[in-house]
Symmetry: C2
Subunit: 196 residues, 2 copies
């Protein structure tokens, strides 16, 4: 693995200040654990589409320590319970809907930001239309907007999606205002207090 | 969660004998850990497409204990290192290619078999063609063939894919012979002995 100094997350050099920048400047982070954080999106594919990431800016899933790996996916589960409460109105995720949980682990699989991030996307019947449109979620997941922490991005410096993935320009997915994302993050913070 | 007695994995009622059936009758399992196992596919989407599952037949990711969750994703990482050695010819996955790592967590996200399974799919540039064809991997992942442990299935009883996902009938993905799958499983077992 290359040294951290060579890695950027959007316009931000990834340094020990990374997390501070993310939390205090952007207000999109709704959860921080010992090794992980959860962040809302600038252009969620579906309502509740969030990212769960390790605090350390690892490029690849195989770079995480055992403690970081355990914490990352326990955080995914906790976020699923929270999202189930918010979007499915239930304490039991299996009663209300499903989740797409996916990691694009490397550029050939569609990863654009070289910082491991787990997509967690609440799913309900018909949410992406019927027939082949259902799978459009994966096309959108491969777009650069779905990979980012929203306002972190300098639009002049966004990378093209890797792996030959098409760039999705969807008029229905307008970037949101920072205040909207902050409000969403706050809603999730409150909901997290009510789940294990 | 419903009682286990109501759950089937393909034609097999899921009982405490589940794992024994899987290992001794089918020969597709290439790795068993304390809480997880890895299994080859009847119709892999791409070479090296395997599934990593908890030994206990949990329906949903949020049903796994902390120990099971940690073990499941540590096993995913170990399998990635093994697949990198076999398919990318490197000990460092990031040097050779990428991975699609995905869980369809519930029927509305395309899960057909009610037993948590993590798809681990090696990816290299151009492996799914160019342009929009790149994302065809997700359409195929939603097909019933990609969700199964191969010969476990009684073709007369295969469920239709959930969540409105299209059924993929790809002439290039003929079911393999049990001996071929057994040979693949053995190749992975040997490769696992050389990775951490």
């Amino acid at each position: 693995m290359s040294t951290n100094a060579e890695i950027k997350f959007g316009p931000f050099p990834i340094t020990k200040q990374f997390y501070l920048v993310l939390t205090h400047a952007v207000h999109q982070v709704f959860l921080k654990t010992q090794h992980s954080f959860g962040v809302v999106n600038l252009k969620p594919i579906l309502p509740g589409h969030v990212l769960v990431c390790p605090l350390r800016p690892h490029r690849r899933l195989t770079d995480l320590s055992a403690a970081e790996t355990a914490d990352l996916f326990e955080t995914v589960q906790r976020v699923q319970r929270m999202l189930a409460r918010v979007y499915f109105k239930t304490d039991r995720p299996e009663d209300g809907g499903s989740f797409t949980v996916a990691v694009q682990d490397g550029p050939e699989s569609g990863q654009t930001v070289p910082h491991v991030h787990v997509h967690v996307i609440p799913r309900v019947a018909g949410d992406m239309g019927e027939g082949e449109a259902v799978d459009e979620i994966y096309v959108k997941m491969a777009s650069e907007e779905a990979n980012v922490g929203g306002a972190l991005w300098d639009v002049t410096r966004r990378p093209e999606p890797g792996g030959g993935m098409p760039r999705v320009e969807d008029a229905c997915r307008e970037p949101r205002e920072p205040a909207d994302m902050h409000a969403e993050a706050n809603m999730y913070k409150e909901a997290l207090e009510r789940v294990q």
